[in-house]
């Protein structure tokens, strides 16, 4: 590419038949400093994880024990349930972010005043400390005195005990995750919807298409790239979520809101480094197993 100009400027001077071998203005060593940091602190640990997960490990010495860590992981209900909770959490948060993000975006791209204000208000939680959000909602979700249940009382609904109810704990954290993250889904959808030419809607209107039809046959298909982004982003984020869950429930009550990331941390704290790393590998594989088919599926459909 750049060698084209090199060839033009230098061709007469050289005897080499091929384009002149002057140094490219884009040397590969530019990648090196960033690449080394990335390799040493991200790639090397990721690859080493597969080995360490097969050992009984104390950071100082390791003993090869084969697949024992994995066997233990899947045998112990407290650990294995983390896998299921992770899936429930990721799918719930992702689904709600898609539905609510799109609904709010349709609302805000409609004939409405104060659009910019509402977009800012909904987006700001994305930037706030997740620990701060978790601790705040821990108080707001207090079973009796919390603002949420007090408000529900006013309209005659007895709210659940949220974080202290084993059946609700995981979902409660997922709801807070959606509260914090829906703003990002909203701005992605708004960008997607606003890029749809207005004539499409006007033409459809003239043909007598109702609001639902316009949504179903124009907005929904043409906002597809936005949907793809929101799904991938929230699924990948949801599968590895740790800080919010740790701040709100620490995986409790019991193990009812333990996810992979909190299991990994607990095993690390307890000194079971091999087991913790096995959990990490399981999480890798889970993310790959979910993300790869989605990437493939979405790319394929876009080509078609």
């Amino acid at each position: 590419m750049t060698t084209v100009t090199d060839a033009v400027t230098e061709a007469p001077a050289t005897t080499v038949p091929e384009p002149a071998r002057r140094k490219s203005p884009y040397p590969y060593w530019f990648i090196l400093p960033g690449g080394v940091v990335f390799a040493v602190f991200f790639l090397v640990p990721s690859v080493m994880a597969f080995w360490f997960s097969l050992t009984r490990w104390t950071l100082f010495d390791q003993e090869f024990i084969g697949l024992d860590n994995y066997v233990q992981f899947f045998r112990e209900p407290a650990l294995a349930s983390g896998l299921w909770h992770t899936l429930v959490y990721a799918v719930t948060t992702s689904g709600l972010k898609v539905v609510l993000g799109m609904a709010l975006a349709v609302l805000l791209t409609g004939p409405i005043l104060g659009r910019g204000f509402m977009r800012s208000v909904a987006f700001f939680p994305v930037l706030v400390s997740t620990i701060g959000v978790g601790l705040t909602f821990q108080i707001l979700m207090h079973p009796t005195r919390g603002l949420i249940n007090q408000a529900l009382d006013l309209i005659g609904i007895t709210g659940p005990a949220w974080l202290v109810d084993p059946d609700w704990a995981l979902l409660s954290v997922a709801f807070v995750d959606v509260w914090q993250g829906v703003g990002l889904a909203l701005v992605i959808y708004m960008a997607g919807i606003l890029s749809i030419p207005g004539e499409y809607f006007e033409a459809a209107k003239m043909d007598g298409a109702g609001a639902w039809h316009r949504f179903r046959h124009i907005t929904l298909p043409l906002a597809r790239p936005a949907t793809v982004s929101v799904i991938l982003l929230s699924l990948i984020g949801g599968l590895r979520k740790f800080d919010l869950i740790w701040a709100m429930t620490k995986g409790g009550p019991g193990f009812t809101s333990d996810v992979m990331a909190s299991v990994i941390y607990k095993q690390y704290q307890a000194g079971f480094y091999g087991l913790s790393t096995a959990g990490n590998v399981v999480l890798f594989l889970l993310v790959i197993l979910i993300a790869l088919p989605l990437f493939w599926f979405f790319n394929r459909k876009e080509d078609a």
């Binding site: 602190f41 360490f52 005195r145």
Partner: protein, 277 residues
């Protein structure tokens, strides 16, 4: 669907109230509780403080545990500023070459970068690496890890932006005798200003809010970051909700300032980053 249609006033009012209640009440709750006395804050209700203790609470939070909060703010600032400055330069350099040179090698590198965006980091093996290098429980170690984790996202954003800079510019500079370094730092880097602002702002917020990496790689009180002190505060001052919420308020202020100044860059950066990812 466009702005040409007349705005629907009742619907607008309803939406504004809905957004206000859902997204602003929690923040109002933080501010109000941060201004209450200890007894009043223990009621956990959403009400106007009968007696404002805002300044006292602020003082108490800052002085708590020998000014730990001040130390944490300094640590978090150092962590954020150093990590972001380094990652911006390294990612811009890498993104430049990766975008300009299309070869089998750069394509492979891009695939690896994508894995950095998708895969969860392997935490305990990272501790092992840090320990081997003598960097575990040190600020430089944590900074390097933050740089590594931010690298993928930043390189992709830079690549996307650099694709829009005409290559003829590089060629002109090269013909004028610029080497790769001066081509990059004198010609290309100044043109990257808009994307640099975006990357800096977005990464500043990410790293400032990061809780998990300091928890694993820089434990201990003497070098605590703000998110860790906030988390520990909860168990130490379990009954003083006013102080807890004052702490939450203080930790929320820096992102709020960033947001008010750079809202456009943050939103566009996150949308672009997510669409690329």
């Amino acid at each position: 669907m466009s702005t040409r249609t007349k705005p629907n006033v009742p619907l607008s009012a309803l939406t504004v109230v809905l957004f206000g209640v859902v997204f602003l009440v929690p923040f109002a709750f933080i501010v109000l509780t941060a201004g209450k006395t200890a007894q009043e804050s223990a009621l956990l209700d959403f009400s106007w403080p009968t007696q404002w203790a805002f300044v006292e609470n602020l003082q108490a939070v800052v002085e708590a545990r020998d000014y730990l909060l001040i130390i944490a703010f300094i640590n978090s600032t150092v962590l954020t500023v150093v990590s972001v400055s380094v990652v911006v330069v390294l990612a811009a350099m890498a993104g430049f070459v990766l975008q300009r040179r299309k070869s089998r090698f750069t394509r492979a590198v891009n695939l690896v970068i994508l894995s950095g965006l998708v895969l969860p980091p392997a935490v305990v093996p990272t501790i092992w690496v840090l320990q081997k290098l003598g960097l575990f429980k040190t600020m430089p170690g944590l900074i390097l890890v933050e740089i590594a984790y931010a690298m993928a996202f930043c390189v992709l954003l830079f690549q996307a932006f650099i694709a829009g800079i005409p290559k003829e510019l590089d060629e002109a500079a090269t013909i004028d005798g610029a080497g790769p370094l001066s081509l990059f730092f004198r010609v290309v880097l100044p043109l990257l200003r808009p994307i640099i602002v975006t990357v800096v702002v977005v990464q500043t917020v990410f790293i400032w809010n990061d809780f998990t990496s300091p928890l694993y790689f820089l434990p201990g009180d003497e070098n605590a970051t703000v998110q860790l002190t906030l988390f520990n505060f909860q168990s130490q001052y379990a009954s003083s909700y006013n102080l807890l919420f004052m702490d939450i308020l203080l930790v929320t202020v820096p992102p709020l300032i960033m947001f008010m100044i750079f809202q456009r860059q943050i939103v566009s950066g996150m949308v672009a980053g997510s669409v690329k990812g």
